[in-house]
């Protein structure tokens, strides 16, 4: 096992590499841009020199003698013909140049002042720590750079400008890196410290490079393509460019070439070295590959989402995982996941051979990698991997003994972890039981779509196979779907019945539903209940009761409960009082308030009393019962569901006309200056509020009319009242009136001067000029209404598309900040250093999943305990 180092890091200090260190750590001086000789062997003094480490198998490093994975690599160096500025130190160099004298190198401050600042800096460092010194340094440089004359040698100081990206200009003349380096050399140590560069950490002149370290080959390995051709890393290419220009510069300098040529080559060298460090500096064209792709140089390797941190250190690729499209399967249990057989043959589970399973595992090897419950590899006790093929099968079976590991195919009932991005939840990753199925998609039960936020319009999901017994046990206990039914957010089941399941159960448990013996048995066989039924016919409620445990008691209400002042309880005329006594549904219809996902109260009670596994089975059976019943009676929605009788249309028209009339009167009153303003509001604002109020009232009445005229057996209404899908508002929108379109909380008030469209008069604030849509979707919007509707529609699309990434980033930051908090056994919340964050989790130490809506319901506990006592 790797040795664990337990030492706390106090601080990390970065320093500048000095030329001396570069030379010392370099094992080779690189002098030629060529990589390999004619035989493909690395050239000595080339970029692939064997002294810098090895990447090809078979060769040995000439510095340490290590083989491919043993040698960590060693640096080389390039001697530059002329010094070159390091792009990343430009802000520092600029500061140094401006704040020091060009003649004597001293900081442009009086001797006395220098002493003063020095003392202040020391004091700050001692009392407030190393980081606080930067504020003082900023002040010093601010002071020094404004001096016109050097106080030490009286030399006049010219203004130095920095011109992006790489030039410094003094007065009219350009400063070459040689000039700059000379000046930086003159700065005394104690003065460079005042400008923020600790003399311990380095000298200012080291910011201008004279030697360039060459990273080891292991940092920039070359890849051999299939065609046998070698492809070099981007860094190697860049280094090649640097050496080539460097050499040409050397040659021209020795030959005494004209200044222009030398200058050009110098600039080119500067460009190559700059892009070697970072390849996306503004105003410097990025260095490109032959194909036109920008090179990925040093800074690009580290930075941003694709960089080393976020790509390789904060997240990694994994083996034993799969990804495909998901599709629904109502007949798969909610804790199962359907896995395509092709995937099952690829994903394996290591099984150690022992006395009891050897014969069983031999069967797998016999079937081989291509027949489903087979095996792909065996691992010998020495750790050798052997692939199972038709040829090796026999031999492997013969040699198989205890201690071998067989990597067998994934089979039914294996534990797998299933996930859908974005993983915002703990429920976004749950453990399922595998079920191997034909075809090519993952299959999940519809009830489990809620926690994942999945639908089937092309969503893909990921699957992971835990490889050890510990991992499987942990996944089973902590992550299995059953144990995730109740959400820790507000303590109600997140997994429950949806859509057709609810519609079915709703219709089945209605007051007058009676099923014949035949239908009853059809239903029960579909759901999988085995029970003797003596009666000739059963009511819907009796059938639903068959799913409930015999000692289950529950009282609740449906979502359509009118909340009468005096509840008639079981005799509720609308059947809104749900009562279960000893496992028999006595009154009330079952709707989404009882068994639905995200608000099923009866479901929550069942979870509390009978446990997660029972509840998961119950949800599965409820869903099957609902679907099966719909299959018997037939259920479909039609465009005619949204039809209204002519009488209702008349009423709606009348109501809307009346509210428009009211608005007109109001406007008249306003124009006559008789309108009374609300306190703290202007008259105009008051008018606006009143208009909105009138229009909303009118729209609401049309909604009521739709509700009143809807027949009870209208499928759309059934779905709305049962809570399966849609609402009465949706229906009113379609058949009656869409209503006021709002933009930023007010009526639409945008476009031309004092009007929304050129078709209206200026200052006209009647409903239709400000985005009131009086038609329903079905009746059709007129052109103005259509336009206003499009405005709000576009606005909401824009809003969602800008909010999602913003809130996503916020979530990411929160997760990063909170990821290693834990609840300890003493109830405290602590971080990774065992520092206390909360003294009681949530201040009350309550696990929300085990409560009624985040609170402990003392009454129901009392009731339970007392009734049990009485029975005794």
């Amino acid at each position: 096992m790797a040795q664990v180092i337990k030492e706390k890091i106090d601080a990390i200090e970065f320093r500048i590499l000095s030329p001396a260190i570069i030379r010392k750590m370099g094992v080779v001086k690189i002098i030629t841009p060529d990589l390999y000789d004619a035989d493909g062997y690395p050239i000595e003094g080339g970029l692939m020199d064997l002294r810098m480490g090895v990447v090809d198998p078979g060769l040995r490093c000439r510095t340490c003698g290590g083989r491919v994975k043993e040698c960590p690599g060693h640096f080389g160096y390039i001697e530059l013909a002329r010094p070159v500025i390091h792009i990343k130190y430009i802000p520092w160099i600029y500061d140094f140049l401006r704040c020091t004298c060009s003649d004597c190198g001293k900081i442009l401050l009086e001797e006395k002042e220098i002493e003063k600042w020095k003392k202040r800096l020391d004091k700050i460092k001692k009392t407030k720590g190393e980081l606080a010194k930067w504020n003082v340094i900023k002040l010093i440089s601010q002071k020094a750079k404004n001096a016109k004359v050097c106080p030490h040698c009286d030399a006049k100081k010219k203004k130095i400008r920095y011109e992006k990206p790489l030039t410094f200009i003094e007065g009219e003349t350009k400063l070459t890196p040689i000039d700059i380096r000379e000046r930086l050399e003159k700065i005394p140590d104690e003065h460079s410290e005042l400008l923020g560069l600790d003399p311990q950490a380095g000298r200012p002149e080291w910011m201008v490079l004279t030697l360039l370290p060459v990273p080891p080959v292991t940092v920039r390995p070359s890849i051999t393509l299939e065609s046998g051709q070698r492809s070099e890393d981007d860094l190697t290419h860049k280094l090649g460019d640097i050496i080539r220009t460097n050499q040409r510069l050397f040659e021209n300098l020795n030959a005494g070439a004209p200044e222009i040529i030398i200058e050009d080559l110098w600039d080119l060298l500067q460009y190559h070295i700059t892009t070697f460090f970072t390849n996306n500096v503004s105003q410097i064209p990025p260095a490109r590959h032959r194909s036109g792709r920008p090179l990925k140089t040093l800074a690009q390797r580290i930075r941003s989402k694709e960089g080393r941190f976020r790509r390789n250190l904060a997240g990694k690729r994994v083996n034993f995982s799969a990804r495909t499209v998901i599709s629904p399967d109502a007949r798969i249990k909610i804790d199962e996941v359907g896995i395509p057989i092709d995937i099952a043959k690829e994903l394996t589970i290591p099984e150690r051979v022992n006395e009891w399973n050897i014969d069983w595992l031999k069967e797998f090897i016999k079937r081989g990698p291509n027949e489903h419950p087979g095996a792909n590899y065996v691992i010998t006790p020495e750790g050798k991997r052997k692939r199972i093929t038709d040829e090796t099968k026999k031999q492997i079976i013969d040699e198989l003994t205890y201690g071998y590991i067989v990597e067998r195919h994934l089979m039914d009932n294996d534990i797998v972890i299933f996930n859908r991005q974005p993983s915002l939840h703990k429920m976004s990753m749950m453990a399922h039981r595998a079920k191997i199925l034909p075809y090519r998609t993952f299959r999940i039960n519809l009830c489990t779509t809620v926690p994942y936020g999945a639908d089937f319009d092309g969503d893909e999901m990921n699957l992971h196979v835990p490889q050890t017994e510990e991992a499987r046990a942990e996944a089973e206990i902590l992550m299995e779907v059953q144990n995730q039914i109740v959400t820790p957010r507000y303590g109600l089941p997140l997994i429950g019945c949806k859509q057709d399941h609810i519609t079915g159960c709703f219709l089945l448990t209605k007051k007058d539903t009676v099923l014949s013996r035949e239908d009853v048995f059809t239903l029960l066989s579909q759901v999988g209940i085995e029970k003797e039924i003596e009666k000739d016919s059963l009511s819907g409620k009796e059938i639903f009761s068959l799913l409930l445990p015999d000692d289950f008691n529950y009282v609740g209400k449906t979502r359509t409960c009118l909340k009468c002042a005096k509840c008639k309880e079981e005799k509720c005329p609308h059947d809104n009082y749900v009562k279960v006594v000893n496992g028999k549904l006595i009154s009330g219809v079952i709707d989404s308030n009882s068994i639905g996902a995200e608000d099923g109260e009866m479901l929550q009670k069942i979870i509390q009393e009978y446990g997660n596994s029972f509840a998961s089975d119950f949800i599965y059976k409820c869903s099957l019962l609902g679907i099966s019943y719909l299959k018997i009676i037939g259920f479909s929605i039609l465009p005619t569901d949204t039809d209204l009788p002519p009488r209702a249309f008349e009423k709606i028209k009348f109501i809307l006309n009346k509210s428009e009339e009211k608005v007109r009167e109001l406007i008249k009153k306003y124009e006559a200056k008789k309108l009374q303003a609300y306190p703290g509001r202007t008259v105009e604002e008051t008018l606006e509020f009143k208009i909105i109020e009138i229009l909303n009232k009118g729209r609401n009445i049309t909604g009521k009319i739709v509700e009143r005229h809807a027949s009870k057996d209208n499928s759309t209404i059934i779905m709305a009242t049962s809570g399966a899908k849609g609402s009465l508002l949706n229906l009113a929108l379609i058949s009656a009136c869409v209503g006021q379109q709002a933009l930023r909380g007010s009526r639409i008030n945008k476009g031309y001067t004092r009007r929304t469209l050129p078709h209206f008069k200026k200052n006209d604030i009647t409903p239709r000029c400000r985005g009131f849509v009086r038609h329903g979707y079905k009746g059709g919007l007129d052109p103005f209404e259509f336009f206003f509707h499009a405005i709000t529609g576009r606005d909401s699309v824009m809003d969602t598309s800008m909010r999602t990434p913003k809130s996503g980033y916020m979530q990411r930051r929160l997760i990063n900040a909170l990821q290693d908090l834990k609840i300890c056994y003493d109830g405290t919340v602590r971080d990774a250093y065992d520092k206390i964050i909360q003294f009681q989790f949530g201040e009350d130490g309550i696990d929300v999943t085990k409560t009624d809506y985040g609170q402990i319901n003392v009454d129901s506990i009392l009731n339970d305990v007392l009734s049990r006592e009485i029975k005794k």
């Binding site: 003493d826 250093y833 206390i836 003294f839 009681q840 201040e843 009350d844």
Partner: protein, 81 residues
């Protein structure tokens, strides 16, 4: 104009603060099996610390109203920074 000092504790959003005695401190550290460094912190130049004249190393007991638990106790150690 004469400067009026604001009474911090009169404000409805400022919960009860109290400096704990040495014995209470000891007991608290023992109860949670922690060292002083593991407690949540509060700066010495926090207005409340100035008001209470708390010194570095003191532990302040805060009694807060909590929407979930009614009353909740919180402890913070006074630190320099």
């Amino acid at each position: 104009m004469e400067k009026k000092k604001l009474d911090l504790f009169a404000h409805i959003w400022v919960p009860k603060h109290r400096i704990m005695s040495e014995e209470e401190k000891e007991e608290l550290l023992k109860k949670y099996n922690i060292t002083l460094q593991q407690l949540p912190r509060i700066l010495v130049n926090d207005p409340i610390c100035k008001e209470l004249k708390a010194k570095v190393g003191d532990v302040i007991e805060i009694e807060r109203d909590s929407p979930t638990a009614g009353k909740a106790m919180y402890y913070r150690v006074v630190v320099l920074e």
